[in-house]
Symmetry: C2
Subunit: 321 residues, 2 copies
């Protein structure tokens, strides 16, 4: 067994200063790091401004696929945190980029969406056709035990070459049944080809968070909502969001930085810190969100960050670099 | 490794006659054995009549939880197959009996239902209170990303002491979110107690079939629809239907027969034949449904019946006992 990874608990301004000097690219999870629900973490905004002033590159990384980058940007504006759309990487954006750039998804094929506007807007931005999602005909309850809407290939659109599944508050049996049919048609395991009818159908999840935080939560998340498709089809999807590495690939393709010069700041071990560890970039854990210090101190701790601070706001103690 | 189980392929009237003589209680899966969709399997009805004439006990066992026994009986009547309601055991009925008789579910507690009329009617028949299911307020699409309907404990009914999940064509995020909240509240892992508010909340699935056959199918089944709850809560539910043994316990409690005198006739290895094998009752596989002969002949065959015939109708060759 390899020796267990240890973390450095940073507690004073000189340690914070050394950390800031060491890394040129600062990647941030948002909820639990910059804000908690609608409340800013004290000092976080000021730290971001200082990092910008010292020439650091800033990147925001969120698994939230329900909103497009444009919509996520509105939250930054609302809370008075400076951000540019090109600094924001959501799992819906990364999923659309993955489809376009990595899979070379043909322009004559469609994506069947289980998800909300955030996914549809990012697919639109990449020029990828889609159906399902918020389309009116799939956001209905079918009459109980009446399968006529689904029978006789009415469930199948042969131009569909991928199923993309994310968080969807209008999850319906009709969407699950249609997605299932596309994912299990003959040849669905292969790649979608241009000019083909039927055949290959990719299976992509924006993220696989079992739950997500929101007022009154946690609530069942995108990973939970997609589990019927995994259970019914026995297929393994490609998962884009943290801790999976397609998200990092998308960021690196856009930002071209050295991994050794980058640090990821997050509050969740199973998404944020695991994402950084798997991607060979440094990780800084904060205690203003989900995960606790006890989880990284025990003998059995499986996911451990490189650094720990109580709050991102603590770094505001650094007055100059 | 134990030697692989072998099956007897019965092919003539004398072999069928010997089989019929050996067993006094004949349990039948329905779809794929007695009928296929809306078409009777040739000879099946005649065989049932002969078995009755020779004094055999007849039992019908189905995982279908979407209909109550009364509704399932209508299918028998429609196809002209004689049956009595007391001979029919559905997973919805067995689940209601399990709750009442095995768990002694308190009369002042409620079951939160993800499912259709079949479950509600069987709970009503056992005098068990329920909510969710077909209740109007939970059969709606919430406004996207508006959690106000679920916040501030609106999702929680403290009188709920069990979540029961089965096939539901009106699965909705609101139902999944409410079920999740009940299953994860403090103390939910324990038993539901009378006169208590909150606390224990049982987790019961009528069945865990990943798909089910219907015209145009297979379609995602009850096991698929319940998987978000397993994924989000990390809880292991009690599963009632075939191949799980609570179904057999329910039948034995009502019918009091010797296992050694009973035989189960089914078309599916993973539900029917596994159910019989686990329950130490003999099994007869027919090839008029889902599973194929190739699946029981290979070296790696894991589930093997005791006997094989092409069709239940073949037994009609037996003229007298």
């Amino acid at each position: 067994m390899p020796p267990q990874k240890t973390f450095q608990h940073l507690t004073d301004a000189s340690a914070y200063q050394k950390l800031i000097k060491q890394y040129d690219v600062w990647l941030f999870d948002c909820d639990g790091v910059l804000w908690s629900g609608d409340d800013l973490i004290p000092g976080a905004k000021e730290v971001l401004e200082k990092l910008r002033g010292w020439g650091k590159e800033i990147v925001f990384v969120t698994n939230n696929a329900s909103k497009s980058r444009k919509e996520i940007l509105k939250k930054f504006v609302k809370l008075g945190v400076r951000a540019d759309e090109t600094e924001i990487f959501s799992s819906s954006y990364a999923a659309a980029v993955y489809l376009k750039k990595v899979l070379n998804f043909p322009s004559d094929r469609k994506v069947y969406v289980i998800g909300m506007e955030g996914i549809e807007e990012e697919l639109d931005a990449e020029g990828i056709q889609h159906c399902g999602g918020t389309a009116k005909e799939d956001n209905v309850f079918l009459p109980p035990l009446d399968f006529s809407t689904l029978q006789d290939d009415k469930a199948i659109d042969p131009s569909v070459g991928a199923v993309m599944c994310g968080f969807d508050m209008h999850l319906s049996y009709i969407k699950l049944a249609k997605a299932y049919k596309h994912l299990t048609r003959p040849g669905a395991d292969g790649p979608a080809k241009a000019g083909e009818v039927g055949g290959g159908c990719h299976f992509i999840l924006t993220n696989d968070d079992s739950t997500f935080p929101a007022r009154g939560g946690p609530w069942p998340g995108a990973g939970s909502l997609s589990s019927p498709l995994l259970f019914a089809t026995k297929r393994q999807p490609t998962i884009i969001g943290k801790p999976h590495q397609h998200m990092l690939d998308t960021i690196l393709a856009a930002k071209h930085f050295e991994r050794s010069k980058a640090i990821f700041v997050g509050d969740r071990l199973d998404t944020d810190i695991d994402f950084a560890n798997r991607g060979d970039i440094a990780s800084l854990m904060v205690l203003t969100g989900i995960s606790t210090r006890a989880e990284i101190e025990g003998d059995g701790a499986e996911i451990v960050p490189d650094y720990l601070v109580e709050s991102l706001g603590d770094l505001d103690q650094v007055k100059e670099l």
